[in-house]
């Protein structure tokens, strides 16, 4: 170990501490959200209405996410896909991100950034926008995408 610590090392250490605190908070917050959505049933009680749906009468890509996650929390995969197929398809990413913030919170070393490739970003933009349009169409295959 060096006897003198350079300012850049101290700064990096401070950044690491705040990063770990933030990651820990995100991990615990995710866990709390999972428990809350398991207990609370958005269909039984009056849940928050999507402002986009209230104003335009059209679904947004996020409509049905709470019902979808509630169904998932109870293991009802079919019902979850019925409420919001996009959220279900992104579930592996959500779970992986949750695990990675948990790992980053307990690791003592600067975490290697989990870097998604560029094509994934563009693919998701296309997926969000096309899901937005398609779930508002009434013909049979598209109507299944509505919540």
């Amino acid at each position: 170990m060096s006897t003198s610590i350079s300012p850049s090392v101290l700064a990096r250490r401070a950044v690491r501490v705040t990063d770990r605190a933030r990651n820990g908070a995100l991990f615990v917050g995710g866990l709390a959200f999972a428990v809350a959505i398991h207990v609370w049933d958005p269909t039984a009680t009056a849940g928050p209405t999507c402002p986009f749906l209230a104003i335009t009468g059209r679904y947004c890509p996020g409509c049905g996410t709470l019902r979808c996650l509630h169904a998932l929390a109870h293991g009802h995969l079919g019902a979850a896909i019925d409420h919001n197929a996009l959220t279900v398809s992104l579930l592996p990413l959500i779970v992986a991100a949750w695990i990675s913030v948990g790992v980053a919170a307990v690791r003592a070393h600067p975490a290697r950034e989990w870097r998604l490739p560029t094509w994934a970003g563009w693919a998701l933009v296309v997926a969000f926008v096309s899901f937005w349009v398609l779930r508002n169409l009434s013909p049979a295959p598209f109507a299944w995408l509505a919540p």
Partner: protein
Amino acid sequence: MADPIQRGGVWWTQREDGSWLRWDESSTSWQPSADPPPPEQVGLPPVPPMPAGTGGYPAPAAGPAVIPNYLVWAILVTIFCFLPTGIVAIVFSSQVDTKLAAGDRAGALDSSNKARMWVIISVVAGIALGIIVVVSLIATTTVTHVDVNFP
């Protein structure tokens, strides 16, 4: 493991068995190193810059060594916080690696900072929207019941 130390812009860390690892910027991972880090230069005057064209050390690149693209965060805030600004964050995130591949470090850093800014905007907007929705829900349920019938 001991805390990482920096020597000449390179990060080193010592393992339990005494061997050294150095941070490899190209693969962004710790790589075993046969040589220990150079000793810390205490009290020495800073080395004057070498004249161009004499084959000295390459000029260090400006800005941080690793430019994050924040794509994971951009996607998560798009799902959970606020979609319109989240998509803007995804677009800026996607530009980072493209610009890095083209050798445009300044542009990549700019896109990275913009992606970070839009992630933060999305989080704030999502929290604000959540508060508005909950407050309006409490306000409307006590007054009347709105039944939205959608085909």
